[in-house]
Symmetry: C2
Subunit: 357 residues, 2 copies
Amino acid sequence: MATERKGLLLKADPISAAFRDEVKKDLEACSSRPKLVGILATSSAPSNNYAEFTRRQCEDLGFEFVLKKTGAALSSDLAAGEGVEEAIIDANEDGSVHGIMVYYPIFGVQQDHYLQQVVSPLKDVEGLHFKFHYNLYHNIRFIDPKSLLASPTPSASSASTVEPEEPPAGTVKSIIPCTPLAIVKCLEFVGVYNKILPYGDRAYGKTITVINRSEVVGRPLAALLANDGARVLSVDIDSIHEYTKRPRVATNPSSEPTLAQKYHPRHIVHPSNLTLEECLAISDVVVSAVPSPSYKVKTALLKDGCICLNVASDKNFEKDVRDKASLYIPAVGKVTILMLLRNLLRLQQYQQTSESS
Amino acid sequence: MATERKGLLLKADPISAAFRDEVKKDLEACSSRPKLVGILATSSAPSNNYAEFTRRQCEDLGFEFVLKKTGAALSSDLAAGEGVEEAIIDANEDGSVHGIMVYYPIFGVQQDHYLQQVVSPLKDVEGLHFKFHYNLYHNIRFIDPKSLLASPTPSASSASTVEPEEPPAGTVKSIIPCTPLAIVKCLEFVGVYNKILPYGDRAYGKTITVINRSEVVGRPLAALLANDGARVLSVDIDSIHEYTKRPRVATNPSSEPTLAQKYHPRHIVHPSNLTLEECLAISDVVVSAVPSPSYKVKTALLKDGCICLNVASDKNFEKDVRDKASLYIPAVGKVTILMLLRNLLRLQQYQQTSESS
């Protein structure tokens, strides 16, 4: 009965079902149909597939989706990325467009970061703009929607460890990057988040290894989980950092809390002396997002009964992962797209607020 | 008489002399002494040396310089980068500070990009904030200083091919990233820029190879040179792009100018079919900024009589470079620091404008 002892394989559909219903309901309540523009600037097959996936999901739910092709996506005579910045600016300036999604990678990490800042934060359904990362890293959950067009570091509403049901008057929820948010929603679904604990501390007691520390997935995810109380071991190619909200003994006796720390209580980060093997041995959850087909987390190193979640398009876990893992989620894309559409609905509202004020 | 045939070795001192005088004069006219805060967050020897170099230059010229050490720069018990974001935010919020300089690299390209957005653009003497890169890439030379605290993509004053002596009323000059600007000033000094040509076209007719396409040096430099009329061959590890302001035949017959192109006439970028060897063979100027001691531009490939400029801390040219080059500039750091101090003087003024309005 070897197969009976295997851990559970959990596909994203049951996780996304509740969000699907929520998004459908919110869409019905909309005065006008939200319009998402996808911008495809390369001939990459995964980007093309993801664009078609976005279209199907949008049309299925009743959102308007327009795919704008540019550069190598438009013609084999053109280079990857040609015209993509202009396409973004046109969509920023087009009042009929409520959300913008760009299919990365295009130029590579540095120039793609630049493009992510060109997308207006008021239309940034992916939550990749610096302002949203800043809010996330500083645990700023509510913002004045007008701040998305103002001050370089957004003015914060006071952070609170217990979230009220609704944002304080005059504020709205900050946008959280789609993929990290989808991962959190998966972990909520499978009970890693404990609903008995107060909001903002529901991952307290959990040790979570996150393999990848990019600005798009790994670092925002580590910050989100730590802001929710988890001990996060953030693993990258050359270092392991620990993200935690719990106080630790200051190694520098003269250090006092900075203004920022006083105003925005949030997680702290320090280097870890643990090895990857040691991290895996103590982790209740392992999330891997390494963009390489050859990278594999060794099943033998996992803690028995842990929860494993693959975010990479290539599988980062070995075939026998469920011999050790109690639960394995192989992909999160179907949850990610719903977080994106939820962001689209919110941003459409924020745009109306900004216009009317 | 082999040595007589060698090209000229030009150190940065004669180039920086004129800027030194200009900065000194402008400093004397200041109502209050500008204060620069340097933030050092690693134990890296080059960063330490550069911080001490900044201090000497500031004190020599009469600027106030305060070095704020944090993380591994403060104590060997602390990690590289620990507390650096808080130090930046404190300096942003400290009214007595006029400029902020952070010694990179700290975490690596992605997280360092994030930090560059945390520095307030009103204090960003290095010109590394997204808003300044956006202006540069769009050839927006004059900005409303208030825009540095407002709208995510700055509102442009109309671009002009002929620069007036002074910015149009209500606008100020945008800040240009220090290192690319210092390189342009070197090329102006050695006559690559032709003063007989109209402003904005003074590099017309010159072919320039730039080796490196980072967002900090190579890409902004390519854009600056192309905005000034040069044909720029931008070489990176996996591709060669051509930056130019000259029109070319559209490869896509249906493409019309975008809103952005209509509003901000600027350089265009397209992929090149040339190899590095072919680029070097036709280049009047070769700028190299590859952060590797083993990378060398082969002297044998250079066009006879070209001008070579090394920006890397390791020398990217071979010892015999002057056998082919008519002129070789081995380092630009002394010009860069003066561009930084010039930015500091300007930003101090912009801060006063923003406060009084």
